[in-house]
Symmetry: C2
Subunit: 351 residues, 2 copies
């Protein structure tokens, strides 16, 4: 298979970890006889510095014309505490999601047996956790009209959803549940929000076409508790954009390290793969960041193109690295292994 | 002191647990020579059944004319899965908060040493946790305009905030931080939301009047992680309505039981005190619900009227009950103690 992959490494540790994912994909390409072509382009704070725009036209065009996007991370503290900044790195990511039509963000969360001691949760709570969050990614309050009055004293954000925005992701989530443990939980706040009531109505209707999948509902506040109290109760969680942002980051603590969590963002035409962790500016350039989330995102990319065996090869190599403790210091305080070393090990293991 | 207290016991286990709080307050009244007068009124599903309205005029009038409201719980499953229900119990609670001007919800979260084994978190993570959440309660997406188009295919909720809505709660939160460990964390999503940027701006400005309080900022997705990874880093958390709903319920798992968590909702003229747990319909009428959250809400009521010694007497009695394991089965699976028994013990201990 030939795949053209756009590489948007972005800010902070983005470039370092993405480098390891590329290395891994190259190893897979050699073993399984695929040609992966990588083209880099700027995004985020680094793109603002270069061009004034967090998502330059050329970057967007590359992404639209390519088979898949491998994304690093964006964000720079210099923008975070300046509420009046007109241009922010995050705008690049949001515009990219919207322009590529990436309406579904998929985040698998698993407890790795080798890492159970890293989790803040007790072992009996996390045993058996294997859930996937389907987060709507191009609608809701992220993209609704934003207003600030002239005096700067009244602000608003509109959360809006149409039935078709809910339908398309609901179908993906039901299908995923069907191929897993056949349970779908819709997380919403239907006792307060009109949009949540629409979600409940539409998802209930679609559920009728998936009679083999058990559908249940959870208010988001209760979901935030259940995610910690009893995460193994979940199979597939479906939710809107903002709730998905919060619940999936919360869920990321279960496994003991956010440095292991990958995600896929998919639409009808495009797909993008990125680690869940952010740009972690404090670690930038130190060769200490954990590359595994980025490498596992590359595995999700392969799965997306139905290269299941290839994806499995990456997953196995990662498990081997964890087992042999060829990991960065976030996973093992005694470890002196660098980002590069972990990437090398995983690529070599595949080769 | 003479206090007129409106009792809105509500649905599910609300009446049972509230009864224990009343009992406790009566014991305090006798020991410390105060006259507490209790007047009951319907709210929630039970009020819908009786009058068609989840907050009947008479109930609202009583609350407006009283010194404080003791609230039980509301909610009934028969309304939850009916997105088209025109009247819902929650509307009663929301209207009550709005009509009484209860713009600040205060939720203290502590890890009780006697209950550490109940927590889903490992001991080293929760040791030293002692935080208080200040959640804005009468603004934001809860109360913004809600729309549904005629075809029922597009829904929206407006999240709106004005500077004065942020200022008044920010002052309360800074003052609380000042009397505690002098740290305030604003939780928002300023990298995406216009309202969050207004929060950041206004809170930063107000912070200048509290130079002894350290102010920091956390995106809500990160806060959802930090709450589990390292809850003892927090002193006072300030946040808007919806984020506060999610984060505070999430935080409620730390201590090992939501059955222990009390809250105060205060405004310029009125104050209401309620357990965080909901109506727990499955346990209704069985005399098995944990009354401690409701009893601790009564302690917060006393503190609100500066009856600190009296509040402390309740807190001590609760700690004694925990120590002697005079608790309901949620805290000790072997326990055969009823709701009434726990209430009796606490009241007797005070007397
Ligand atoms: C950077 C930010 C805009 C983004 C989001 O909120 O979607 C991030 O938190 C994420 O979850 O990918
Ligand atoms: C019942 C519901 C409307 C309410 C809320 O979301 O505010 C509850 O969850 C709470 O936190 O008091």
């Amino acid at each position: 298979m030939n795949l053209n992959i756009a590489v948007l490494a972005g800010d902070g540790i983005g470039p370092e970890v993405t480098q390891q994912a590329i290395k891994t994909l190259k190893a897979v390409g050699e073993v399984y006889n695929h040609t992966f072509t990588f083209t880099e382009a700027p995004v985020g704070a680094i793109a603002i510095d270069e061009t004034g725009d967090p998502l330059p036209e050329k970057t967007l065009k590359l992404c639209l014309d390519t088979d898949a996007v491998l994304f690093g991370a964006i964000g720079d503290p210099k923008y975070d505490n300046d509420p009046s900044a007109k241009v922010r790195p995050e705008q690049g990511l949001l515009k990219l999601r919207k322009s590529l039509g990436l309406f579904t963000n998929i985040r698998p969360i698993k407890a790795y047996p080798t890492l159970i001691d890293k989790s803040p949760l007790k072992e009996d709570r996390i045993n058996g956790t294997d859930l996937t969050i389907y987060r709507e990614l191009t609608g809701g309050i992220y993209f609704g009209e934003k207003k600030l009055n002239e005096e700067g004293s009244v602000a608003s954000d509109l959360c809006e959803y149409s039935d078709y925005e809910i339908e398309r992701i609901a179908h993906l989530a039901f299908k995923a549940a069907r191929s897993r443990r056949k349970k779908l939980t819709l997380v919403d706040k239907a006792n307060v929000l009109e949009t949540s009531r629409l979600w409940r109505k539409v998802v209930t209707n679609i559920g009728k076409s998936y009679p083999d999948v058990e559908l249940d509902f959870l208010f988001v506040d209760n979901a935030a508790m259940q995610m910690i109290l009893n995460p193994s109760q979940f199979d597939v969680i479906l939710t809107e954009n903002m709730f998905g942002d919060i619940i999936s980051d919360e869920g990321s603590v279960i496994g003991g390290s956010i440095g292991l969590l990958a995600s896929a963002s998919v639409g009808d035409e495009n797909a993008m793969f990125e680690p869940i962790h952010g740009s972690f500016p404090q670690a930038k350039g130190k060769d200490i960041a954990n590359p595994i989330a980025s490498i596992l995102s590359a595995a999700m990319l392969l799965e997306h193109f139905k290269l299941y065996e290839e994806a499995k090869a990456i997953n196995k190599a990662v498990e081997k690295a964890l087992e042999l403790k060829i990991v960065t210091s976030d996973l093992n305080p005694d470890s002196k292994h660098t980002t590069t070393k972990v990437g090398d090990f995983i690529a070599d293991y595949i080769a």
